[in-house]
């Protein structure tokens, strides 16, 4: 009965719709902010996970990559980016769980999805000149992408490391790095 009471006290059934919308927009903004400037309270971010950020970032990235792909491969590139992001996130989570991490599937997908944000910025920076003028030289692309890669890994390490035993942090982070590096290869070596 006590537990029931506790659940009843949480009452959001009568709230106006704009409150619902605002709450979700706020949590998305809050998380993006924490990815850009990694800081201490990772647990608060992890507790209320959402998949809006991962979905939008994934769509943005897939759009940008598919526009610079050859015509007959546009659809394939687009679908592949989608599969790689979600299945990859799932595999990294599985690895973290096997290593004794106490993270649920959705939390982990949420974190990995949000931590793509720096790489999405990199894609955007590279995509603008490629789309309107000409492709950038690899010597310019590579540093941009590598800086953002380090940023992504650093941000996701801050989140994931808090939930995996200390001695296994390296093992948990390594596949995360791979998860982002495959994208780096896509961005850097894709030519028009």
């Amino acid at each position: 009965m006590d537990q029931q009471h506790q659940q009843m006290s949480m009452n959001t059934l009568d709230e106006p719709v704009y409150v619902t919308i605002l709450r979700d927009i706020k949590t998305v903004g809050f998380k993006l902010y924490h990815v850009i400037i990694p800081r201490g309270n990772a647990i608060a971010v992890l507790r209320d996970w959402d998949l809006w950020g991962p979905l939008l970032l994934c769509l943005l990235m897939a759009i940008m990559l598919s526009t610079s792909a050859p015509d007959n491969q546009k659809a394939l590139v687009f679908a592949l980016v989608f599969v790689v992001v979600w299945v990859g996130a799932g595999l990294v989570t599985l690895n973290a769980q096997v290593l004794g991490g106490n993270l649920s599937l959705f939390q982990s997908v949420c974190v990995l999805g949000y931590c793509v944000f720096p790489l999405t910025i990199a894609t955007f920076v590279i995509w603008i000149p490629t789309a309107f003028f000409s492709g950038l030289h690899i010597a310019i692309k590579l540093p941009i992408v590598l800086i953002c890669l380090a940023w992504s890994i650093f941000a996701s390490y801050g989140f994931l490391a808090s939930s995996v035993p200390l001695s296994r942090k390296g093992l948990a982070t390594y596949p995360v790095a791979l998860f982002y590096i495959d994208r780096v290869i896509l961005y850097s070596f894709e030519t028009r």
């Binding site: 059934l13 619902t20 992890l46 769509l59 659809a75 989608f82 649920s104 939390q107």
Partner: protein, 218 residues
């Protein structure tokens, strides 16, 4: 005392849900003791109280399925169709989970993650079921259960035609099936939980009224 039995009926009178189909509403309709507020609610029961919520409950679902079916006929490019369908499915998921569920059937589910990584379901349900419109409730469940059934069918079709079509459409199917499926699971759990709560409330009410009677006789 007659007033008491009436409220008891009120508590037991549940809204439409796929897990029981007793016609308790007839008993309430023919009940001679009705307060004016109840009559107003009954009058409003025929007209939808939340037409906007009802519209959006179906709008995103139907547009996702229609675009999926018509994309190749109209000649829409796969990338654009993929984006539009996925966004429709995501908006539909959000609408059903956060808005139409609580307005149309008075239910809402949350899945919270505890600190040890296991998840915990939290269910909210309206205590006063008389606020819920029977037709709205029926249409809500039609949408929630119907959408994943349609996507299961479409997924089967794309698996069968995988050899001739690109596998991209299968990705669309899986995304939409996952998004609609989560809502079905959430709301079925939530409806079961709500029924349990109603039963518990009715039982505690009966016990309470017996105790009250005993006290008044003493």
């Amino acid at each position: 005392m007659s007033g008491d039995t009436f409220t008891l009926q009120r508590i037991e009178h549940d809204t439409y849900s796929p897990f029981h189909d007793d016609d308790s509403s007839i008993g309430v309709n023919n009940d001679p003791i009705q307060t004016t507020s109840d009559q107003q609610q009954q009058g409003a029961a025929s007209a939808p109280k939340h037409p906007v919520a009802l519209f959006f409950h179906f709008f995103f679902k139907v547009s996702a399925i229609v675009i999926y079916l018509l994309a190749s006929l109209v000649g829409l490019s796969f990338v654009i169709a993929f984006i539009v369908i996925t966004l429709c499915a995501a908006f539909d998921f959000w609408t059903v989970k956060n808005v139409s569920g609580r307005l149309l059937v008075g239910l809402r589910w949350w899945n919270e993650i505890k600190e040890d990584g296991t998840d915990r379901w939290i269910f909210e349900s309206l205590e006063n079921k008389s606020q819920i419109n029977q037709h709205e409730s029926f249409l809500f469940w039609v949408g929630v259960i119907g959408a994943p059934l349609v996507w299961i069918l479409l997924t089967i079709f794309s698996i069968i035609s995988l050899l001739s079509l690109s596998f991209g459409w299968l990705v669309v199917d899986v995304v939409c099936l996952a998004l609609t499926g989560v809502n079905v699971i959430g709301y079925i759990k939530c409806a079961k939980d709500a029924r349990k709560k109603v039963k518990g409330m009715a039982q505690s009410y009966i016990v309470g009224s017996i105790v009250n009677q005993a006290i008044s006789r003493v």
